[in-house]
Symmetry: C2
Subunit: 242 residues, 2 copies
């Protein structure tokens, strides 16, 4: 069977995978993915053939998945979170366009904005924007324009890839842009290492967020002007009359 299933496995724990993702992994002949993500689902993979590539090896990983599918195998390409949100689906489908004989499917999963949001409460219960601070593949000017627009329109904002060693001041710059439109006491949240043993979450103000240290395991939430902390949870209200 020439097929590639592009599978979002959620934050990493078995509990947050969908039934469809678990079944697909079991059905595949070969599992391809970034080494760290494969290690999270080793119990499901069992003794299946695997293709591991390192971070930033995305194009190579997809090409190897294609070659295996062309040889008649059903390949499961693993993406953390949702395969369609900063995941492998876009790149894999682009390369698949030259291989119409290979069947494909995209299996959605719980993304960090959802698993992190659930830990914090309900920060995304109204309109929101999802923006990555990584300028590896996106001009920084476009990222800044999107941050300004989302802040001005009072959208709640989720920041993916908020920082790394090379981009230690990006979160501070993002907060400065947002502070141009939103008050310093805007309710914000951070989640780290979701679904791992050292998972944590924290509620801070926008001015406090500006001073925080973040890394690639952090997801950042910035409330809109109506977002509150209630009962220890972040809630962005929809407007129900109580």
């Amino acid at each position: 069977m020439k097929k590639i299933s592009i599978i979002g496995i959620g934050p990493g724990g078995y509990e947050d995978m969908t039934i469809r993702a678990v079944r697909a992994i079991k059905e595949c002949d070969v599992i391809a993915g970034y080494t760290l993500y494969l290690s999270l689902i080793m119990d499901l993979i069992g003794d299946k053939e695997t293709v591991c590539t390192q971070m930033r090896g995305e194009v190579e990983r997809c090409r190897r998945a294609l070659a295996l599918a062309e040889s008649g195998k059903h390949v499961g390409l693993i993406s953390s979170g949702d395969a369609g949100i900063y995941g492998m689906a876009g790149l894999m489908l682009t390369l698949l366009a030259d291989h119409p004989d290979i069947d494909s499917e995209v299996i959605p999963g719980v993304s960090a904005c959802q698993s992190g949001g659930a830990l914090l409460g309900a920060p995304l219960s109204h309109d929101f924007a999802v923006i990555s601070l990584s300028d590896l593949l996106t001009p920084i000017e476009l990222i800044e324009k999107r941050l300004s627009a989302a802040a001005e329109a009072d959208l709640a904002i989720v920041l993916y890839n908020p920082g790394s060693h090379k981009r230690s001041d990006y979160l501070k710059k993002a907060c400065d842009i947002i502070l141009g439109y939103r008050s310093a006491d805007t309710v914000c949240g951070l989640t780290r290492n979701i679904s791992r043993d050292d998972q944590s979450h924290q509620i801070v103000s926008l001015s406090e967020l500006r001073e925080m240290t973040v890394d690639m395991t952090t997801t950042v939430f910035i409330g809109n002007s109506q977002t509150t902390v209630t009962g220890g949870h972040i809630v962005t209200p929809r407007g129900y009359r109580l």
Copy 2:
């Protein structure tokens, strides 16, 4: 056990539920939800006690869940999609703030932007905004401001609640706003009745989208300026060099 689990069940089919959501439903004493959503998971609910309320009965539903939890029960409050994205989590957590003796948890699930996005390909593989066109609880001026901002900043856009009988021209108005910033041939997509027998999806241009009829089961996707149709799928590229 005084507890409320706020459970996102995804688009409605068993396959797209998370392991955690299935387990929680099995563990609860009582299941509360909108009648239609409970009907989708009757096999899981079995002969458990249920509390069904109609559409727009959200506040009453939460108050009944609270009363049941106060009586010592573990209540599962069902939300379609993700409980934190236009779901029940925000309202329920707000009401729970006055009941610190009741334990709670939010269980995320696959939202329509993800299940619909996976059907269409990968329309949300780069930064995006999620905006509801329902003005039941939100001033229409704020919705329009958010549409303008997202369009100007070249964010991909997902529209929830794009239309109903009373709001038959809202999608047209939204397209007109977006057409002020984005070309008429911008790649767009629609999904209908996701995970039901009559599930469908369609790829259209922004000018064609303007003329479409939509209802409450439709989710609308508007690509950014780089979004393409490739191999029959919508792909919003992240910028990988191939």
